[in-house]
């Protein structure tokens, strides 16, 4: 009878509500030997990113009166979740975030400065890109957890069959025209051999899998610049892509050199020399649907596990070699109720012996020079390429408190360019949209 069903579902619903309400209550556990009480620190992080369980457990092992509760979200949702939790009444104590967003979060009062907690000698030991990325207005907001960058991975079987030998050291790195020619050759030969389309360059999986993600694609613009040129020159500005005070991109993002770089980028997608696809193709390199792929350092592990015979080559360049640095890092929220405990924990996890152990066990690229020197695996293939790229070519993504907006509009412009729009128009439009936001 429908009435009974209605009654039943009401009853179930009521029970569910009560159960859910009950579930939200919790209590801090007690641990023997901690007379001062147990400190429970809440952590928000992106899935598969730092601070990892390994790092947190190692800290608890050394400081048993501090425990962690972790909340994790897919990386693409991390920024949104932070935006939602920041004004709430109980923000997390420790939060993982993408390093380029540091200035954004710090300038809005979301993060706690950690200068007082950093060990002596830290400022000399940390790589300069990391220091720039994790600072705002003269203060440091995260000790930096790892560095990462893109390198050009290639499928050895396909490149050998096409008669191509990509360079394996930074001195012999390809220029983009050279790389494109090699990709085209490989594309033709592999497509013929496979009987179905094999791309020279895999469509990027970054972002949502469509072209334009600035982490990779803005390199085409910035690589046309020259950091050694005079500061007022167009070449200098092209390289840095945002004014020093972060208030404008006009004349920095839409320079003639940048437009030239964008035009080259466009011809990777369209025209007779196209080597990649405008629509996403997941796992292209692993599935043998592409010869080359610009990927982060963890791709080495992925490819090894998939049994692909691969090699690593430095990222190609146009005029000046350049790679973007910046990876996920973590810090302390300014409104945390356990600020001191959290700050101490964060610094301990990212410096000293605990850091060294973690880097070694997980094959990450560290932010501290001393740690890099202590690990021989970092000077061997396949990690040596990204490590050297970071040291010699690495620059952070254009810093500033409005990085999210910057990233959004530059990515959108690059995507439109990949789809065939006029580069000059797109870059000018991006500038027109960004300048009002940046100048606030």
């Amino acid at each position: 009878m429908k009435r009974n069903i209605a009654t039943l579902s009401t009853a179930v619903g009521t029970v569910a509500i009560m159960a859910l309400a009950g579930c939200s209550a919790g209590s801090t556990p007690t641990i023997a030997g901690c007379e001062d009480g147990v400190t429970e620190l809440s952590v928000l992080r992106a899935e598969n990113n730092s601070p990892t369980d390994e790092q947190l457990d190692a800290y608890t092992a050394a400081n048993k009166c501090v425990i962690f509760t972790v909340d994790e979200v897919p990386f693409g949702n991390l920024a949104a979740k932070i935006a939602v939790l920041a004004p709430s009444s109980n923000p997390p104590d420790i939060v993982g975030f993408d390093a380029p967003s540091t200035a954004s979060y710090a300038s809005q009062g979301f993060l706690l400065p950690l200068d007082d907690y950093l060990p002596a000698g830290w400022f000399d030991d940390v790589t300069s890109a990391t220091l720039t990325e994790n600072s705002w207005d003269g203060q440091v907001y995260s000790p930096g957890n790892e560095q990462d960058t893109l390198s050009l991975y290639f499928n050895k079987e396909l490149t050998d069959a096409a008669g191509i030998t990509p360079p394996t050291s930074l001195d012999t790195a390809w220029t983009w025209p050279e790389a494109q020619a090699a990709m085209l050759t490989c594309q033709v030969s592999a497509t013929e051999a496979a009987g179905s389309t094999v791309y020279g360059l895999a469509p990027s999986r970054l972002g949502d899998g469509t072209p334009g993600t600035s982490y990779r694609d803005q390199l085409f613009l910035r690589s046309m610049g020259d950091p050694t040129a005079p500061e007022s020159s167009s070449a200098y500005k092209t390289f840095y892509a945002i004014s020093d005070d972060g208030t404008t991109v006009d004349g920095w993002l839409n320079t003639p050199e940048a437009i030239e770089g964008a035009t080259f980028y466009q011809n990777l997608f369209e025209g007779p020399d196209a080597v990649t696809s405008k629509t996403g193709l997941p796992n292209a390199l692993i599935d043998g649907k592409a010869c080359f792929d610009l990927e982060v350092s963890s791709n080495a592990t992925t490819l090894t596990n998939a049994g692909v015979d691969f090699g690593v080559s430095p990222t190609p360049y146009l005029v000046t070699p350049i790679v973007h640095t910046g990876a996920v890092t973590f810090g302390v929220t300014a409104r945390s109720n356990n600020a001191e405990a959290a700050a101490t924990a964060v610094v301990a996890m990212d410096t000293g012996d605990q850091y060294l152990d973690w880097v070694e066990n997980n094959l990450r690229i560290p932010v501290l020079v001393s740690t890099t020197e202590a690990l021989p695996s970092l000077s061997e293939a396949p990690l040596n390429i990204p490590v050297e790229e970071i040291q010699e070519w690495g620059v952070p993504r254009p810093p500033g408190p409005h990085f999210d907006a910057y990233d959004l509009y530059v990515t959108a412009a690059l995507k439109n360019i990949a789809y065939g729009a006029d580069p000059k128009t797109e870059l000018d439009q991006a500038v027109a949209k960004l300048d009002p936001i940046l100048s606030k």
Partner: protein, 319 residues
């Protein structure tokens, strides 16, 4: 169970009004059970929830629309008066978004109304496999917008099913979502695909309410099927049609998944539907004040449309 004289003609017929041969509309006003107190008891849950989740957000939004602040630091808000509203009409991206949404709504209406009418006529006839057809066109209606958008992302992909089918007839692959002239039409077709089942069923209900006698009388007088449709059926369906137009308009105005899942507004903003633009402005660009102002403008549009409907239908709400 029922006792006493019951009017068994469908409500729809009664509402056609005008004809004096139809029974008068029964007034449902009760003369028993007066009193505000029991009414309050029964109404409180509904009204309380309505107040908390509709009216208070509306008020909050109205307040936010004159402020400039970030979601990080809501306390740190500055009063900007009408600046947000002025910006709506001067910001190229917002204007484009409004125009795109408008074009989207128009495109959906132009395709959905005739198509669903034709299908309803088909389903109203005596042709075979009607139930099967009705089930199939209703499948997308019960499918969530997320799954529809996901499915169509793959259908429209460069190497997706549609291009694959085109290839078998020798037509080269179309860019669809990567082409500035094809992206918006593609999501319009997708939305029509999703909603045509609902519109058809609504039309069907209206068609079935058309009294058969009128049709037969016209048939007797020698009117052909087309003439009958144009002169009898369509005018009697005007109320249903209007309702469908309004429902489809509101659905189209609220479209979010196509932009969020499929295109991110690209290429060149040709699929930057207004709700997605508002979401992006609030949550990614951290400008909830401006987003609230835009939302108020969208709300105003929706209210105007609904008021037009109410006016045209001249509905009498019985109290």
């Amino acid at each position: 169970m029922h006792s006493g004289p019951i009017d068994s003609t469908p409500l729809a017929v009664r509402d056609l009004g005008g004809s004096s041969t139809l029974p008068p509309r029964r007034r449902s006003q009760s003369k028993i059970g007066k009193g505000a107190l029991p009414a309050l008891a029964f109404l409180t849950p509904f009204l309380l929830l309505l107040l908390v989740f509709q009216y208070i957000p509306l008020a909050v939004m109205a307040r936010s629309s004159v402020l400039d602040y970030s979601l990080f630091n809501p306390d740190n808000a500055t009063f900007v008066g009408a600046a947000n509203f002025i910006r709506i009409f001067t910001d190229a991206e917002t204007i484009q978004s409004l125009l795109i949404t408008f074009a989207f709504i128009l495109g959906v209406l132009i395709l959905v109304v005739p198509a669903s009418f034709a299908l309803a006529v088909f389903l109203n006839g005596k042709l075979p496999a009607r139930a099967l057809v009705r089930t199939m066109i209703f499948l997308p209606v019960v499918t969530s917008s997320v799954v529809v958008a996901t499915l169509w992302t793959f259908l429209l992909n460069e190497t997706g099913l549609i291009n694959s089918v085109l290839a078998t007839v020798g037509i080269p692959s179309a860019g669809f979502l990567t082409d500035t002239t094809q992206a918006l039409p593609a999501i319009i077709v997708m939305t029509v695909w999703q909603q045509v089942g609902l519109a058809t069923v609504l039309f069907l209900g209206g068609l079935q309410a058309v009294p058969a006698e009128l049709s037969e009388a016209a048939h007797m007088d020698g009117a052909g099927p087309l003439r009958r449709t144009l002169s009898i059926t369509l005018p009697l369906l005007s109320r249903t049609t209007l309702f469908i137009v309004v429902v489809m308009t509101v659905f189209a105005l609220q479209a979010f998944a196509p932009a969020y899942i499929m295109t991110g507004g690209a290429p060149q903003g040709t699929t930057n539907l207004i709700i997605y633009h508002i979401y992006k402005t609030a949550f990614i660009l951290q400008q909830p004040g401006y987003a609230s102002a835009m939302a108020l403008v969208v709300l105003a549009f929706a209210i105007i449309i609904s008021l037009i409907q109410m006016r045209l239908l001249r509905t009498r709400w019985n109290y």
